[in-house]
Symmetry: C2
Subunit: 169 residues, 2 copies
DNA sequence: ACTCTGAGTATAGGAAAGTAAACTCAGATG
DNA sequence: CATCTGAGTTTACTTTCCTATACTCAGAGT
């Protein structure tokens, strides 16, 4: 156990129950991608769609929500707007994923592989992902900085630099 | 490109736009964990909480929603109900994560590390995760079955066994 | 019997999110 | 200059979610 954690426990603090759970990176990420269509839009961008009409067609998402989600994703820097031009038509906007958006792909892959394992239809997955370099199947896994594969049960979560106690009631 | 994919393209099918996007493991996973409090409940279980009152206290989630989410997570086999007994009190239920629930941890870690990178407060993360074995920092990464680290941009997604075209309009 | 506690259920009002369909707007084409 | 198209906006309606409070229920202790 960490020194900070020990000091807190000596003071009678329960790390689980007395911490400020709103000061959490998961909660903050969900503020951005937790709304209904957001992850699915990201999935489509990742699969190669980029135009408003493409998202609408393939997702069946209402246009006003689609517009709102795209605007938000652009404001957050997860997507960026570029333009495309079909011959004989004017320039129109298209949406491309940024590096910041790409950093969400491990989370999306995690959701994908859980669904593949527990909720795929009996035939198997609808889409499969492979490494462009070697062709092998890819998946999201947890690794430690020394390169070991880490099972979830072997992860220990301890207070970090921004650990805070919950405000008094 | 895959043989299936080629055959489909020869038939004038656009893999991105004409596929049945509702037949998707991500969408199906979100049906289970896409509601507002679900991932946060999972986070608390993962951090060590197990009792109704603990979830309520630390999340500040309304009791009726909490009860509904817990019931759903148990029905889905992500949590299991056990009992605990404080001295001088009767047995009460507690919620523990199952292996099926543990398999969601890579996705949760993916969300966590995105938030740590882009949305943490200036001091750093509130909680840090490390490998119980070696103490090194852990994170969610994508690997291929041959053990290569895979950047999201090097992943190729192709139709799998359950690929289906979208129903006619 | 009465009370206390943790784990819920029940209910009601307001806010937010989702859905559906009609409408606008900017340019390229006929 | 009327029409077509993709990309939105607007509006009206429905569903879900949030907040808050009150209530129930099963034992253990007094």
């Amino acid at each position: 156990m960490d020194a900070t954690a020990e000091a807190l426990q000596d003071a009678g603090v329960d790390l689980r129950l007395d911490r400020d759970a709103s000061n959490c990176s998961i909660a903050r990420t969900l503020e951005v991608v937790g709304e209904k269509w957001t992850i699915l839009i990201l999935r489509e961008v990742y699969y190669g769609s980029s135009r408003f009409g493409e998202f609408e067609r393939v997702l069946g998402c209402p246009r006003n929500l689609l517009a709102a989600r795209l605007r938000m994703l652009v404001e957050e820097g997860i997507l960026a707007v570029e333009t495309y031009k079909e011959p004989g038509a004017r320039s129109r906007p298209k949406y491309v994923i940024t590096p910041k958006g790409m950093d969400l792909i491990p989370a999306v892959m995690g959701l994908l592989q859980w669904g593949d394992r527990y909720r795929a239809d009996p035939e198997g997955p609808a889409m499969v992902s492979r490494h462009r370099g070697c062709g092998a199947h890819v998946d999201a896994r947890i690794r430690c900085d020394r390169g070991h594969a880490v099972e979830p049960v072997d992860i220990e979560s301890i207070p970090g630099p921004a650990f805070r106690l919950r405000p008094a009631e």
